[in-house]
Point group: C2
């Protein structure tokens, strides 16, 4: 057997394996995606799925639980689709060490969660991104059991993505796809400041 034939043969076996796996994945329903860990890519992946969803003409909702100086690029970009398949809310008031006021943090998170809960109860939303919700859960600003029960009761075709460090175990348990973004290295550690388009 020559090289080209061996390549074809190996590719053919790989194709059969992949095709069999795809054939076995027959369930078709809304999924809950959780992006957690300390590495880069949790929010940006959520916004990448937002772009994909809009590309398919899906109706989308976004709630950003933490505002701060971050999130400027994606907000400027996606705001132009508001009313055109997208409902975009920035509800947080910055990272908790910026506000230094627990009552205000809880009030902001509670207001953000009210908007999220409305989306999660409405089957007009095909994709809902709850950006940095995990932070609000870890801090105890929003009751975890309420979030879990609302997620479990949502419309069956609705996709939800939740981002942020420290995803609680109970959330991981009910999620379909969970990724830990692990830091191999980060530019910030080498003294490089946050860059527009990359972090901002």
């Amino acid at each position: 057997m020559d090289d080209a034939a061996r390549y074809r043969d190996r590719a053919q076996r790989k194709k059969e394996l992949v095709d069999r796996r795809i054939a076995r994945a027959t369930i078709d329903r809304g999924v809950l995606v959780v992006n957690t860990g300390n590495g880069k890519g949790k929010s940006s992946s959520g916004f990448g799925m937002l772009a994909r969803s809009l590309g398919h003409g899906l109706h989308c909702g976004v709630v950003q639980f933490i505002k701060g100086s971050f999130s400027t690029g994606e907000e400027a970009f996606f705001r132009q689709f508001e009313g055109d398949g997208l409902d975009y809310h920035v509800m947080g008031e910055g990272f908790t060490w910026e506000t230094q006021d627990r009552e205000r943090d809880i009030a902001a998170a509670t207001a953000a969660w009210a908007v999220a809960e409305r989306m999660l109860g409405d089957d007009a939303y095909d994709y809902v991104l709850l950006d940095e919700l995990n932070i609000a859960l870890v801090k105890g600003y929003i009751p975890l059991d309420r979030v879990i029960s609302v997620l479990l009761a949502r419309p069956g075709r609705q996709h939800v993505a939740i981002t942020g460090r420290g995803a609680p175990d109970a959330l991981v348990a009910i999620a379909d796809t969970v990724t830990e973004m692990r830091v191999v290295k980060h530019a910030f550690q080498a003294g490089i400041k946050a860059q527009k388009g990359i972090e901002l």
Copy 2:
């Protein structure tokens, strides 16, 4: 000290720590971001950074090294910005086990790399996304040493994001920010098919 005061005190110390770290990160230049690992989020994070970059009015280039049945949503979405700050190329011919023809795979990867190399030599591009380039490197379709030297010689303000499983060590070594997307679990493992907006 009451609870509110304790909260403020803790937040204040955290703020000082974060502010000191931010103050130390003074280097301002283009970064090389690599998203690798077996988990979800590598490409979608690259496309999220694309959205951020477009939101800041940056000029962007995208080369997708593998086409296949994936990448339909993001392509449909971002194509509308072509000519308007974005140069979008889908060059691959599907996963290697689909084509089953090594010569054709190499030719497609080589053509894609030629487009990428032109962007990496042009300081008009602020953000360049080389989606699934790692696959072409792992398969040996494109010479790694050439890719490394072109990346090192690129314009100083240009950001580059490279995605795909199995990022080569030499690429990780020259990158600024590297994230390993680690699978905690995946819907596919539970028999759920790939979903529009999420995987497609």
